[in-house]
Assembly symmetry: C2
Homo-oligomer: 507 residues x 2
């Protein structure tokens, strides 16, 4: 008799719905083999066919909006408004990645014609990207839709031409099953191979999946400990596979003295809003706020934070870890609670919190430099630019870093920004890190521990490249070349030919 | 008293020259810290400055051709002609990567201007690549120059803006020291920071290096066992770092029946020449030749192989492993020696060999599918297309795969080529895999165990991307942006702006 998972409503803590069976080892192996069997068909599709398929998936997700939002809300407690917005983002990701795949830019085609009279002579060489094969996607709980079974990793893998086996998050098993069914049905309705997407459930199934020889890459959004463990599984396989983990981040914000003078009260309110968004469970939550000494915002910050109503935490474990971690921060000899967070009795409810300390407390001491997952943040007061220059390089790698300034002439901004760029994937000025635009230029990743590999993004069209690898064809007659590499460019894809870029579109 | 390394002449087996001290742990730590200290200066250079520096290094290497070739020949036994050619390739790599860095293409710049009225609104986002920091380069012995201290990994890392700490190969310690001195002097003569390149020596120094927190990436060319061990070190660090290993490859060649009929004797001769080049110590040595049953080339192949004079092996360990591995292959119940290789008395000299077996011998049995490093290859006779279709998917991942055909209508070629592309980094038609052109479209990598990560190339301008990571700037005022991201493109670098590519060059 298989173990089962149960849906739990974070607003009440009560179980609901039918038990969902965990996927046993034989089933994981069969599902991975099915994905492998479906891979060549997807790889062989023209970019436009793959794009059509992805748009059909987006349309099916949109068509089931009511049902998806209802189950995701019941399992996550994130609320109707937020989840409708997240679904729009999710379908938008599918559409953007589809459009990008269609341009052929993701094929990264480079054609160097032969140069027989060069020294040394050069043969005809044509390179494109081919899909890696089935990808294991580990769904995150903090974005049940945008980073879940139908999230950015799944959309990017399909755009690259890879089947997906998604591992449901234990906190949202019914959402995962529903998303899987909607996508599978959408594929079948179009006559596509339904094995291009599958969902597995259970902790052991997640391990079995990354160890399965038919899985050729994995993507993960979650904790440092979980990501590190899976990364080591991926590296330790008989055939190691690439693992793309997006893990923890402090997302520091540096406020210049001039910005405090210009709009201190507004910044206090905006900060409280950003760090409590989604109950502080965003990977881009601004976790550390650097304020200049004498900022005079203590009251404003405490009031703004206290006033925030937050959603319940995603599950019991996260709820309990939240106050434990906040208390660990406040226990630092130089730190104290400005607002003490609490666990509430209703379901996984909590209240927001704020810890404050001098910036000197992190000089040579990383006690305070650990992410507190939830709506508690740390305010660090810096004495002067010199102190910032000393402590900013001691921050761990992060997804984002933000500077709030009055003018680009602010001395603190000029010193801080390059130091923050050194340790971050995205640098932001006069905005807040929560909110990750899905665009071409976006980079959602960063130095360890923000990501397992700082070279890759999990959001934006750059995310597709993670799931493909180059193949170069040397001196290969045109009838044996993939169509995308034919001289007359029958697919009309973007290419670099003899060093000159040809944009997408028929010649 | 430090341990020392000694140069050994492979043609005689005799030690020569002064003992070279191994680098102790304190010295490794100091050298890595120096590289870290030198990193910001290199990172801040404009692409043209970095290009000038790299061309100065190339010129210095060329100016010392006589001395470099002499010491490399004495330590490798690869001969004057080969090593002069290899030095030209090495300086050419520096020049090509410099020119590419100057175009800004390696910065991979994407600019998306703000779209405040889009749904959802999009902020201004501008992305470029920044250097990872100091790179550990593990020099290979089979290409003392092109893959050594001054090889493709070093040139690519410097082009990306990363200082290099190179670990000398134990078989060529004096070559490594000389190359390091020439580069350091060239840097100093131009007023550049001499800490941008350093050389460490000794097995333990290589381990200390990859564990050093100041090292931010590593590149390696060598054995599967060595690469796997270093990859695990890189992944197991407190802060994991990317590791780019180029390991072993069988480089299969499939000959169609029509090609045998058209030019069988010439193919036998060409194959023997390719697989004995550099004493079979090329990573692209064609190790497995698939011939159709009844090919009638047994005599021609055996004669061609027997007639080859080969260089001595690089060291005693490689020499001894060579005949041991060849004998292991021939011991397979379905295999036999067509030409039995031998160890000779002079230094590390050997004679070439050939093992033959039916292709059916590798069906469900990987005994024969291990690289024999040295001038012995395997001939597998296939019964028909169906048999090839069954066994080709069982080949391990490789750097290259080759088809020799008479016409692109050859049925075997049409079936084999896509199956080979699935498992290779480069597919070649009617040429031989030895010889890797240094171009934009080149891909020198492949599925495990050809490389630790199939997504990366170690040769060609694509090699530079391994040592950089993206940073996105959101809503950042121009005075705080890197120059390369300014709207008016003052550096004249290639960029994609709002989805449209702007080629390099001043506007």
């Amino acid at each position: 008799m298989a173990d089962t998972l149960r849906s739990v409503n974070p607003t009440t803590g009560a179980e609901f719905g039918d038990p969902i069976p965990e996927t046993g080892p034989d089933a994981v192996a069969r599902i991975a083999a099915d994905a492998r069997a479906a891979a060549p068909g997807l790889a062989a599709m023209r970019p436009t066919e793959r794009g059509d398929l992805m748009r059909a998936v987006a349309a099916a997700l949109a068509a089931h909006e009511e049902a998806i939002v209802a189950v995701a809300d019941a399992e996550s407690g994130l609320g109707d408004v937020r989840l409708r917005g997240e679904l729009t983002r999710t379908t938008g990701q599918f559409e953007l990645y589809a459009a990008y795949a269609e341009t052929g830019a993701a094929l990264d085609i480079v054609i160097d014609h032969a140069a027989p009279r060069a020294t040394p002579p050069r043969p005809d060489l044509r390179r494109l990207q081919i899909p890696l094969g089935p990808v294991a996607v580990y769904a995150a709980s903090n974005f049940p839709l945008a980073f879940g079974v139908a999230g950015t990793d799944t959309a990017a893998a399909l755009a690259a031409g890879c089947p997906v086996v998604a591992k449901a998050h234990a906190s949202q098993p019914a959402t995962a099953v529903m998303l899987g069914q909607i996508i599978t049905e959408a594929l079948e309705r179009r006559g596509a191979d339904p094995r291009l997407l599958a969902v597995v459930s259970g902790f052991q199934a997640g391990l079995d999946l990354i160890r399965d020889p038919n899985i050729k890459a994995a993507a993960f959004t979650g904790s440092i400990a979980g990501g590190r463990a899976l990364a080591e599984e991926a590296a330790g396989r008989e055939e190691p596979i690439p693992f793309f983990g997006e893990l923890g981040s402090l997302n520091p914000v540096v406020v210049t003295p001039e910005a405090v003078a210009q709009r201190g009260a507004a910044l206090a309110e905006e900060f409280a809003a950003s760090m409590t968004l989604g109950a502080g469970q965003f990977c881009t939550k601004p976790g550390v706020l650097f304020l200049p000494e004498g900022h005079g915002l203590d009251e404003a910050l405490a009031e703004a934070v206290r006033a925030k109503q937050v959603h319940p935490m995603l599950n019991r474990r996260i709820q309990e870890a939240y106050t434990a971690e906040a208390s660990r921060l406040a226990a630092h000899p130089q730190a104290r609670f400005a607002v003490e967070p609490s666990l509430e009795d209703d379901g996984f409810a909590v209240t927001p919190g704020l810890v404050e300390a001098p910036a000197a407390a992190i000089d040579g001491d990383d006690t305070l430099l650990h992410e507190c997952f939830g709506p508690t943040a740390l305010v660090l007061t810096y004495a002067d630019t010199a102190e910032l220059e000393r402590v900013l390089p001691q921050l761990p790698g992060g997804l984002t870093a933000t500077v709030q300034l009055a003018s680009s002439a602010d001395a603190v901004a000029q010193k801080a920004l390059p130091l923050l760029a050194e340790r971050s994937g995205r640098v932001i000025v006069n905005a807040w890190p929560t909110g990750v635009a899905v665009t071409h230029a976006q980079h959602h990743g960063g130095p360890w521990p923000a990501a397992t590999n700082a070279r890759h993004t999990s959001v934006g069209t750059g995310a597709i490249a993670r799931f493909a690898r180059p193949v170069a064809y040397q001196s290969t007659p045109e009838p044996l070349l993939p169509e995308a590499l034919h001289d007359d460019n029958p697919l009309g894809v973007q290419r670099v030919v003899d060093g000159v870029l040809e944009p997408a579109g028929k010649a």
